[in-house]
């Protein structure tokens, strides 16, 4: 630490530049990870909100909620700790010149899919909906009457809930009757069997269905099969991994150049009998100081930037993931330093002193 710290103090500018590079790299990593989390949330937050373990869809729907269709009475055949019925359609909601893609969830108010209401009140009759507060960013507000693209019916926003987007679309929660009317048109439902898309279950899901037309899927599998979800995730994950590889190479090169510059000085100390171990420790300690400072500043800067971004940018910072990436960056930098340490081991003290 003694050598490491004194050198940083003497050559402030040089080390500030290195910290700057590390900061930019970590900023990029953190930001991309924020973007990845944000995009994930965009797709899955309404599903996470269910806090469910499985979802029952028809076999032939191929894990797609929209393609799945079953009779409401089939819920009686389901055997789970808790179950809740779900109808879903996608549509474009419009009020005046505001419009947005939405997903309508038809649910029963007394079942666990009923969301918390953060503003306004819960729906109590037909044509009333609780909407995702993401719609507020599009300018929608309490009391707005929405026209849906696929229906003549109009829906009224009576409440808002948070964290409720499904496959990037804000969710409108309504009762099953409203859902039926939107889906099949007014008056049709009386002579038709009531249809839903899925049954969401909690608890042990293994033996929850006996009907062979139905299959139960774990929630995580269901999410992975949301359109575009896995593709998007893989893309970002790859970008982050590549960034890790590239940044570790950059950092390693930087530290290596820094070490090479000091070869004669290290040789000098070795000539005086200062051990390789002491020098190695000092280089590693120095790298740790630099990497830690760089990552910490990058971290703070990322969070600050997050504050000033428009709501439309889907970033969301998961502190645990960021800390993990931060630690990985520091470890990667230290591995780079180990590479330089090997160079120090090979220095011939005699060359350095130019005897």
């Amino acid at each position: 630490m003694f050598l490491a710290w004194n050198e940083i103090k003497k050559n402030k500018l040089r080390f500030i530049l290195i910290i700057g590079v590390l900061m930019l790299v970590s900023y990029l990593v953190f930001f991309l990870s924020g973007l990845a989390t944000g995009l994930k949330d965009l797709n899955r937050e309404s599903v996470d909100k269910w806090q469910a373990d499985g979802i029952i869809l028809t076999e032939e729907s191929d894990k797609s909620l929209l393609q799945s269709s079953m009779n409401l009475d089939q819920v009686k055949e389901v055997n789970a700790d808790e179950s809740a019925v779900l109808g879903q359609i996608s549509a474009i909601a419009r009020e005046g010149d505001k419009k947005a893609n939405i997903a309508l969830f038809g649910i029963r108010k007394n079942e666990f899919l009923m969301p918390n209401v953060v503003e306004g009140k819960a729906f109590s009759k037909e044509k009333e909906v609780v909407a995702s507060d993401a719609l507020k960013e599009e300018g929608f507000k309490l009391g707005d009457t929405l026209e849906l693209s696929s229906s003549e019916e109009k829906l009224k926003i009576v409440g808002f809930t948070n964290n409720a987007r499904f496959n990037a679309a804000p969710v409108l929660y309504a009762n099953l009757e409203t859902f039926q009317e939107i889906k099949f048109g007014k008056g049709q439902n009386s002579n038709m069997e009531e249809q839903i898309n899925a049954i969401v279950v909690r608890g042990n899901i293994k033996n929850s269905v006996s009907d062979k037309d139905l299959e139960v899927i774990e929630i995580e599998t269901f999410i992975e099969n949301l359109p575009g979800y896995t593709e998007q995730n893989l893309t970002l994950t790859f970008m982050i991994y590549f960034l890790f590889i590239i940044s570790s190479v950059i950092v390693a090169i930087f530290l290596y150049v820094l070490t090479v510059q000091k070869i004669s000085m290290f040789g000098l100390m070795k000539a005086q009998g200062i051990s390789n171990l002491y020098l190695a420790k000092s280089v590693i300690a120095q790298t740790f100081i630099l990497a830690f400072l760089g990552v910490a500043v990058g971290f703070i800067l990322t969070l600050l930037t997050g504050q000033f971004l428009p709501a439309a940018v889907p970033v969301s910072f998961d502190i645990v993931t960021m800390l993990l990436y931060g630690i990985v960056l520091i470890v990667v930098a230290i591995l780079g330093a180990v590479f330089s340490v090997l160079t120090i081991f090979k220095i011939d003290p005699l060359k350095a002193i130019g005897g």
Binding site: K10, M269, G273, P349, G355
Partner: protein, 223 residues
């Protein structure tokens, strides 16, 4: 027991017709309390001799024994320990760490080694060498002579049993050069250590107990 003993040590660089015999077969001993001078023309092998004695260069043949342990039998790690504990180098090039102030050059030695001088002894050393005002300066802010004096202080600070100095007075004016030689001699006598000085300057011979002359790799006692 002699502080230093060389048994039939020689050193050749290169092979075939490019072969240079920098040091011819040499036997040599140095005792406690001795100041030894080695003089000789440029390229005669003085630095080669000194770096072999210091364990920085391995001889082609023969044995170097410092305080009873044979350097040639030791691993590089152990040799480095010997350098740290037994030897004080004053090198031809400056041996100061560029990013440490004068004061911290000594602190570094405290970090890596015990049994260095006490703060009081260091203070006296500072005064003897006239560097007490340089404590907070970096090497880049020192003149050549000041650097040299700090380097000498650094070599003495770790209480070595053998001081190896390659042209320690090269960048000093003659008054300073005499003072530095007197200081090295005093340290050697007071602490009963051994000092070997390589020099061009024959006026410094007066401070030495024995003088050797190096000529084409051959070491011969002068006086």
């Amino acid at each position: 027991m002699s502080v230093l003993e060389l048994k039939n040590v020689n050193k050749t660089f290169g092979k075939g017709h490019k072969k240079v015999e920098a040091l011819k077969s040499t036997s040599f001993t140095a005792e406690k309390g001795e100041v030894i001078a080695i003089i000789g023309p440029s390229g005669s092998g003085k630095s080669t001799f000194l770096t072999i004695v210091g364990g920085l260069l391995s001889p082609s043949e023969g044995n170097v024994i410092i305080n009873g342990s044979s350097l040639t039998d030791l691993s590089e790690k152990k040799r480095s320990k010997v350098r740290l504990n037994e030897i004080g180098f004053v090198l031809q090039a400056s041996n100061l760490i560029p990013f440490l102030t004068v004061e911290k050059q000594f602190k570094l030695l405290d970090k890596v080694k015990k049994n260095n001088m006490t703060p009081e002894e260091l203070k006296v050393l500072y005064e003897d060498l006239g560097i007490e005002d340089l404590k907070n300066k970096y090497p880049s802010d020192l003149s050549g002579g000041e650097k040299q004096r700090v380097a000498i202080a650094k070599a003495l600070y770790s209480n070595p049993s053998l001081i190896l100095a390659d042209e320690p007075t090269a960048s000093l004016d003659s008054d300073r050069a005499f003072e530095v030689m007197a200081l090295l001699r005093n340290e050697t006598k007071n602490k009963n250590t051994t000092t070997i000085v390589v020099t061009h300057d024959t006026r410094l011979i007066g401070y030495c107990d024995r003088v050797f002359k190096m000529n084409d790799g051959e070491l011969r006692l002068e006086s």
